[in-house]
Amino acid sequence: MTQLQTTEVPAAKNPSLAPPDKLAVTLIVNGVEQTLRLAPWTTLLDALRDHLNLTGTKKGCDHGQCGACTVLVEGRRINSCLTFAVMQDGARITTIEGLARNGVLHPLQQAFTDHDAFQCGYCTPGQICSAAGLLAEGKPLTRDEIREAMSGNICRCGAYPNIVAAIEQAMGRT
């Protein structure tokens, strides 16, 4: 039998019971400037999903293990669950909602559709943002290098060969 000790501390005397104060944060999301008041513990992912209702960016682990939350910050792909929103004050952020232009799918979105590069679709926004970041890096990539570079984005449905084919299409190879 074990017992977990708990100590009664009145809230006022225990700062740990009071959530941290909110700060003003400005994010330029898909070209639109958004000023939010966020607690410092709010991740960029939660800011997008819960505060801006941009739920296209997905949460699959909240621990940087799955890539579902991948967005572009200043054009670079990052796991949005691993950065606090306040750390991105002033940054330009592109999410899956910002890739299509005037109702026309981004070449990667079209290629993912053409190649059936998803099933349930939950990893897909992260895959596409990650691929967009990869293409922006501008390196010529072999198929094995694409696989390696896309390995931070798990697809449990197992669409990997189609994801690689879609990225190759968007690279203009097919």
């Binding site: 501390v9 739920t55 293990q65 999410t95 299509a100 099933q119 449990r156």
Partner: protein, 740 residues
């Protein structure tokens, strides 16, 4: 939409839900919002067995933004009888009841849900709960319980009856192979976190957006647990971020979300963490003993298959691992046994191709070992024992083109170039191994309701309460409807994942495609008869005197099959009758099939293994599948490919590790629980062999969700043996096991 020959069915059509998924517009269970939404964070037990003595919520409640903390002490009323908690696919036993009482049945059991104005406050407050337990000794060590395991009940999933005399035949057999094969517990890990959002409407009815493979199963369950009137509850799951079996039964977050919504009289959302999802169910660990006896020419004389699998203490979950062995190959003598080790863990649940992924793994590794002992080619051994009949029932198959799978798979793979001895093929520092295995699954169908609303403007809405868990159900439904109604694909819209729609079973077992496709065909027949009747009401009706079977719907018209120039536009027929639309809802039932009905596959795998490091790469897989008529070449290929990826994980990566001291899962995250990533997957070729089947159902459809994984782990394990000469019989095959 041409005449007679279907043009949409079978075509390589891109998913109709694709645009929603690639733009982020598709909404999943945690993505519905309502004003005043309360956010729930779950607190789980850190002990595996015992009682909660006290939960101190005082500190948590004092966190700004916390609304309430629900525990078994203060939750709203829930049903008292086990029956209320027994969902459509519950195994025998007393189902787990979330927050019901102080009893702890497994580590990671939910014991409280903290409700707050924002998710961060809820998560923070959850760390402040003080919980005292009366801990009792627990047992979670599966291998240690092998001898204490009890016989599985003789229910629907119990072993099939034995035939012949296995012991005598084994003793008399000139060649024998006996071995134990181990499969660890595995966890589904769909990418979407389990979540439920429960929202009240103005009339006090509740809409529950849930991550589930069965909205109506969840609906019935919630009505029972909370004493709700069916019309006061609607369960929705239009998109699901993967299930793989984990969402067949209602999961506990749906109960917690409804509890929260009731307690607060506010909308509420509960999202689980990845770690918490490891306690929702898992593929049970198992030890399987296979004994094979054969003549020197490879003729099988005896098959014995014994399994010990794990279950919880409160429910007996088991599936028929052993029966596949006696089904697949011609053999006069077969026997089976299945025992259960009851542990202080949550109840296991179905996971992709439950029983076959594991049972056929053991059988097909054993067959490979027998081929080695016989000095026979593995395909030749399987052909020698090829069975044209279901070996349990003796019935012939409605269709079985496994032979073509072996032939076409071997051809595409280049099997003829295989050097039979182990370690005979290499490329630089890498040993190369080629292995193969057979796969088998059932071709099931379930009664299903479909509603079609055909509008005078040439649009049709087709609805059914099934789910699309990523399988492509939206798309195949639209394809079948387009052909049956003679409309272009873009004029069909599909509704699913809503408990108010016509009746559907849970999406599992590979039965939805066959069921819903035939359901749409049958409902479209009724629509066709209606349209014909209306068309015949027109003056000088070109189709006067025609019966429903004399016409078809094509090109937006009802058309005589005999003379396609005799036709009436559907729009004219409806408008003449002053109808804007016609609507039919039809429940399609399937008679118990008279013939045996299965899907089959032959899987070929190439591995490359670094001889010094033991690193294993699966560089090529060819999967040749016989599964009746393929409804969509593109999504079908993806289904099989996904199954192959799962097979790679099963063979090389996946293992849920349970610490016997704490009775707790040690790798409850997806960094330590390895699933295949992109770099692990190389070339996968999928072949669908022709398998016309006029018997199984009207459209000849058999289903594909499970067959893709079956046989893959065995083909890889056999390839690893061929590469190295080392036989690893416990999964996953990690490099340390090759180095031993």
């Amino acid at each position: 939409m041409s005449l007679s020959a279907p043009t949409c069915i079978g075509a390589s059509v891109s998913r109709i839900d694709g645009p929603a998924k690639v733009t982020g517009a598709a909404k999943y269970a945690a993505e519905y919002v309502a004003p005043d939404l309360a956010h729930g964070y779950v607190v789980t037990s850190r002990i595996a067995r015992g009682r909660i003595r006290r939960i101190d919520v005082s500190r948590a409640r004092r966190v700004a933004g916390v609304i309430d903390v629900l525990t078994h002490d203060n939750r709203p009323q829930m049903a008292a009888q086990d029956d209320a908690y027994r969902d459509d696919v519950a195994p025998e036993g007393a189902p787990f009841r979330p927050l019901y009482n102080d009893r702890i049945l497994f580590s990671g059991q939910p014991i409280a849900v903290v409700l707050a104005e924002d998710p961060e406050a809820a998560r923070f407050a959850a760390t402040l709960l003080g919980v005292d337990y009366d801990e009792e000794p627990h047992v979670t060590d599966f291998l240690g319980q092998r001898d204490a395991a009890v016989a599985a009940p003789k229910g629907a999933f119990g072993p099939p009856p034995a035939r012949g005399s296995v012991e005598t035949a084994l003793e008399a057999a000139p060649v024998r192979h006996d071995a134990d094969y181990y499969v660890p517990a595995e966890t589904h890990n769909p990418m979407e976190l389990y979540a439920t959002t429960a929202i009240w409407d103005a009339d006090g009815r509740l809409t529950v957006y849930d991550k589930t493979q069965g909205v109506q199963n969840a609906h019935t369950y919630l009505c029972g647990v909370f004493g709700l009137k069916p019309e006061d509850l609607r369960v929705m799951s239009p998109y699901m971020g993967g299930g793989f079996g984990s969402g067949l039964r209602p999961q506990y977050q749906v109960v917690l979300a409804v509890l929260a919504a009731k307690a607060l009289r506010r909308p509420a959302r509960v999202v689980l963490t990845r770690a918490q999802m490891f306690e929702l169910g898992y593929r049970p660990a198992m030890i399987q003993r296979i004994s094979l006896g054969a003549d020197a020419d490879g003729t099988l004389r005896a098959i014995a298959h014994d399994a010990v699998t794990m279950t919880s203490r409160y429910e007996d979950f088991y599936r028929q691992e052993t029966g596949w062995s006696g089904l697949l190959y011609a053999c006069a003598n077969a026997s089976y046994a299945h025992r259960l080790a009851r542990l202080d863990l949550p109840t296991p649940c179905d996971m992709r191709a439950p029983s076959a992924a594991t049972g056929v793994y053991a059988l097909e590794c054993a067959m490979d070992e027998l081929a080695v002992a016989l000095n026979m080619d593995p395909i030749a051994l399987r052909l020698k024992n090829y069975s044209e009949r279901d070996q349990h029932s003796g019935d012939p198959y409605s269709s079985k083109n496994l032979r073509a799978c072996y032939e076409q798979g071997a051809e595409a793979f280049g099997w003829a170039g295989r050097a039979p001895e182990p370690r005979a093929m290499r490329d630089g520092d890498e040993l190369i191994g080629w292995g193969m295995a057979t796969g088998v699954w059932e071709a099931l169908q379930m009664s299903i309701g479909v509603r079609i609303v055909l509008s005078a403007n040439g649009h049709a809405e087709v609805s059914c309460a099934t789910s699309d868990i990523g399988t492509g159900t939206y798309t195949i439904m639209a394809q079948v409807a387009a052909d049956m109604l003679g409309l272009p694909l873009q004029d069909i819209s599909i509704r699913l994942g809503d408990s108010t729609l016509p009746r559907s079973p849970v999406e599992g077992g590979s039965w939805i495609a066959a069921s819903v496709a035939n359901g749409i065909a049958a409902t479209a027949d009724a629509i066709r008869a209606d349209v014909l009747r209306l068309a015949q009401g027109l003056p000088h009706a070109p189709l006067a005197g025609a019966g429903p079977d004399d016409v078809e719907l094509a090109e937006g018209c009802v058309v005589s099959r005999a003379d396609p120039s005799r036709r009436t536009p559907i729009a004219d027929a409806l408008r003449h009758a002053r109808l804007e639309r016609i609507e039919r809802e039809h429940l399609t039932e399937f008679a118990a099939p008279k013939l045996a009905h299965n899907t089959h596959s032959a899987v070929f795998a190439e591995v490359r293994i670094d001889e010094d490091l033991g690193l294993i790469r699966v560089t090529r897989v060819v999967s040749a599948v016989a599964a009746g008529r393929i409804l969509n070449a593109k999504t079908a290929r993806s289904q099989i490919m996904g199954g192959v990826v799962w097979g790679v994980g099963m063979a090389l990566h996946e293992e849920t590790l349970i610490d016997p001291a704490f009775g707790r899962i040690m790798n409850a995250n997806i960094a330590d629980y390895h699933v295949p990533v992109n770099a692990d997957i190389h070339d996968i070729e999928v072949i669908f062999v022709d398998e016309p089947d006029a018997e199984i159902n009207h459209l000849g459809v058999k289903g594909l969700g499970e067959i893709g994984i079956v046989g893959v782990a065995a083909a890889i394990a056999n390839a690893v043996y061929h590469a190295t000469g080392t036989r690893v019989r416990d999964l996953p095959i990690t490099l340390d096991k090759l180095r031993r």
